[in-house]
């Protein structure tokens, strides 16, 4: 109980209170005033598009992901582990990096169009189309299909298929009657997860879809920041919350069904034999390299190429390799997009990420310890602690705006004026400090951190501790010699996770970041929406930086994961 208190206090103030404010604002029909029925029409329209694009993206992802899952589950081929890693990386990349990558490859100033223009061919229009949105979603989520369905496929007992074949079934029949039904739970679970991610898509839509497309997430942002219509934004946020919670419940149902495999058998992988198999493996191999690697390569390459003049620069320039976009990040020019050296954004992001790690570990550790001891209270509080998973980052950002932009005292009952005066002191100082962003990031990372630590704690058999105690170790010694070594890995991977989340988080930051404290993603967004080669180059340079930092973090997580499995 005592150990859960800090986490509950934190979530109470920084998750449930903002949520309550959104509820109050969104459910108050008087607020809509002059817009009236138009709001509902708009809501329906946005909801329709959100569902449509999520369905289409999920379908396309499965269409591409299933053959690749088959590839990884059945064949050995050169560089297989590397290729598997390549397909998994996009999932962890910040949306802003993915958007910048596709922009560098296929955008109006991207490599492909530069090439087409050089050949006097008409440029292709990619940014601002539905194709761009779907492509980015497929890029993001194919890794999920490969991991989830691939694992199930590899564990499938090959004798079932062999038996059907020997009884005269056509391969197509075998696939439809045996393989597909057995794979169905894993496919559905993957599809539900992908649908959930696409449903709450934000950065991709905002950056690649352009002004014509709006999902619920984007519309919340537009209503709040463009139209200054907070009640409508709040109502959209509520709709979003209900949808994501429903989808999460659905997903957790599938995932429990997934836990009962037919009979795990280690399938013997083989190199492709027939010409058909060879062709398939070759095509899939090249596809993975092209589709997953090109956007990630286009980005750093574009960040060191000078190809177009800066905004307002009238002289023609010779294409050349350059480091000036990186150098420019350190210069504070009056009249540039920021009034601080842009590199400060990197410093801010690193500070926020470190703070997020610090706060979420401080709060998460005691909570995980309390939860790992079975008890009624722990059982009851578990879902409460996990609830922030259901809220989107944009909703959180909106909640902070409507909560902390007014002195708290204004909506506390008058009986609590004393508390009100105190809390307005808190919010007032919060608002002027750049702390809101790491607090929002902690809210997002905390459930994961608690889960991860809890899982690690559960792996420590109690009799180790008892044995140590019997042998005369003090409680502190028990913790130092038994718990600490086992937990340290979980702590590193939790930290790396919280760090990565905070580093790439764009939704909450796009609503909360004060212009003098930009984060890497908000700075990239700002640069990308500005004209001229210099701004574009700096966007590319920063996105490359963010990609490298994230890559480092992912590497840490993966390394810890692998060593624990060994």
């Amino acid at each position: 109980m005592k150990r859960l208190l800090p986490a509950f206090l934190f979530l109470g103030l920084f998750f449930f209170l903002p949520l309550a404010r959104i509820l109050a604002l969104g459910l108050n029909p008087g607020q809509f005033g002059l817009l009236g029925g138009a709001v509902w029409l708009r809501l329906l329209e946005v909801l329709r598009f959100t569902v449509f694009q999520a369905l289409a993206s999920t379908f396309l992802t499965l269409l591409l992901g299933l053959p690749l899952a088959f590839l990884f589950a059945h064949y050995t081929f050169p560089l297989k582990p590397l290729l598997r890693t390549i397909t998994a990386i996009p999932f962890m990349l910040p949306t802003i990096v993915v958007a910048a990558g596709f922009n560098a490859l296929l955008g109006p100033r991207g490599w492909l169009n530069l090439g087409l223009t050089a050949l006097d061919l008409p440029p292709i229009e990619f940014i601002g189309t539905l194709t761009a949105i779907l492509t980015a979603h497929v890029f993001y989520n194919t890794g999920i299909v490969i991991r989830m369905v691939g694992a199930a496929w590899a564990a499938l007992d090959p004798r079932l298929e062999q038996a059907a074949r020997s009884l005269g079934a056509h391969p197509v029949q075998v696939f439809l009657r045996i393989t597909l039904p057995l794979l169905r739970p894993s496919i559905l679970a993957a599809a539900a997860l992908i649908f959930l991610f696409d449903f709450t898509s934000y950065g991709v839509i905002l950056l690649l879809g352009g002004p014509r497309f709006a999902t619920l997430e984007v519309e919340i942002y537009l209503q709040a920041m463009h139209f200054l219509n907070l009640p409508t934004a709040a109502m959209l946020a509520l709709t979003q919350l209900v949808c994501t919670l429903g989808l999460s419940v659905l997903y957790s149902r599938y995932i429990t069904r997934l836990a009962v495999p037919v009979k795990p058998v280690e399938r013997i992988l083989q190199a492709p034999q027939t010409a058909l198999q060879r062709t398939f493996v070759f095509l899939a191999f090249s596809f993975i390299l092209l589709f997953f690697l090109l956007p990630m390569l286009a980005l750093p390459l574009r960040s060191v190429s000078r190809l177009e003049p800066a905004r307002g620069q009238r002289t023609t320039i010779a294409p050349a390799l350059t480091l000036e976009y990186y150098q420019e990040l350190f210069i504070n020019r009056r009249g540039s997009v920021f009034y601080i050296p842009p590199i400060n954004a990197a410093r801010n992001s690193l500070t926020y990420a470190s703070l997020t790690v610090l706060i979420s570990l401080t709060l998460g550790f005691p909570a995980a310890m309390a939860l790992s001891r079975p008890g009624k209270f722990a059982r009851l509080s578990d879902p409460l602690l996990m609830l922030p998973l259901g809220a989107s980052a944009v909703t959180l950002g909106l909640g902070y705006i409507v909560t902390f932009n007014h002195p708290l005292a204004s909506f506390l009952p008058s009986a609590l004026t004393k508390l009100g005066a105190f809390s307005s002191l808190v919010t007032d100082s919060l608002l002027k400090s750049p702390l809101l962003i790491p607090l929002a990031h902690t809210t997002i990372a905390l459930p994961f951190v608690i889960r991860n630590l809890q899982a690690a704690l559960a792996t420590i058999p109690n009799r180790y501790r008892e044995a140590a105690a019997v042998l005369g170790a003090s409680p502190a010694q028990v913790w130092w010699y038994i718990d600490r070594p086992i937990l340290s890995r979980a702590v590193i991977s939790s930290s790396a996770f919280a760090f990565t989340v905070s580093l790439g988080e764009f939704g909450a930051a796009s609503l909360l970041a004060r212009p003098e404290y930009p984060t890497l993603p908000t700075a990239i967004f700002r640069f990308l929406s500005q004209p001229g080669g210099m701004n574009y180059g700096q966007a590319m340079a920063m996105a490359t930086l963010l990609m490298l930092l994230t890559g480092l973090s992912i590497w840490l997580i993966e390394r810890e994961r692998v060593t624990r499995e060994l």
């Binding site: 307002g312 009238r314 500005q530």
Partner: protein, 357 residues
Amino acid sequence: MKQILSFLLALSFLLTACASPTPSMTPAAPTEQPPTPRTLTIMSHDSFAASQEVIAQFEQQNNVKIAFLEAGDTGSALNKAILSKDAPLADLFFGIDNTFLSRALEADIFEPYDSPLLAQIPAEFKLDPQNRALPVDYGDVCINYDKTWFAEKGLSVPTSLDDLLKPEYKGLLVVENPATSSPGLAFLLATIAKYGDPGYLEYWKALRENGVVVVDGWETAYYTNFSASSGKGPQPMVVSYASSPAAEVIFASQPLTEAPTASIFDGCFRQIEFVGILKGTPNRELAEKFVDFMLSLPFQEDVPLQMFVYPVLPTAKLPDEFIKYAQTAPNPASLPAEQIAANREKWIEAWTQVVLR
């Protein structure tokens, strides 16, 4: 439990102590210069510009460092200022125009300031009787076209808003999103002044069918999409300012005797830009000085070549190139301020529905 609460309490007091500046008990004597310059922050839109020398002059005279916070196009910058009004991002806000003015006044983000310099400024520019927003410059939002492009294609230049619906001009115009951009909103208001409400929606529907391109801000429209700018974009017509052609002459890489762009005078809208002191600034006295500075001759004469708009001060001398190449629309469209205030959000919402969805 008790420990945690008292810890949090102590922490929060510590935070507030750090965050709030301690009020100085005795005002410094006017002759005494503080050793380190204070910083005065001016929040503005992305297109704000002023000469280094002119700003440096103010900085030296007042021992202050001026910081410019460019926070997106006018609409976005203003929204940010409103959303953060309890913890202001800056001391002053420059660039709010007559199309967005009432939003700022309703949100009550400005402190009134009766600058002595207002006396020299014509009454037609002073739209806020309480002087919370003080006029600085004006210009006409008009469609600019790329002369060379039209000459090369042998296409005649459209002369009216109606012409833009003709099939030969399909996909040739780029406009700004009125939700975020003040020239975008000004152009929308021009169409409302011309076609009425709801007639303007019919016009925009037809314009959409004729392939109008929408971007978020003027910077992108002009420097990325417009074919006559350095971006060499795909559209030869852009919603910009009647004074923009002068900029093209002044900044041309080779000397020009004729502007490469010109304006179409149908569908122009007169825009007046204001400055205001943001509520709750700790630097009220300095902020007043800066407002006075913006209304004084050196800054007013700097405005034309920096932001390519006209100074509101009638005695300010215009540069030669400006007189020669910049234009004002003969009779720009206008709408009563009350009508804009009452309908702006509804119009923008309806426009979004028709043009973007």
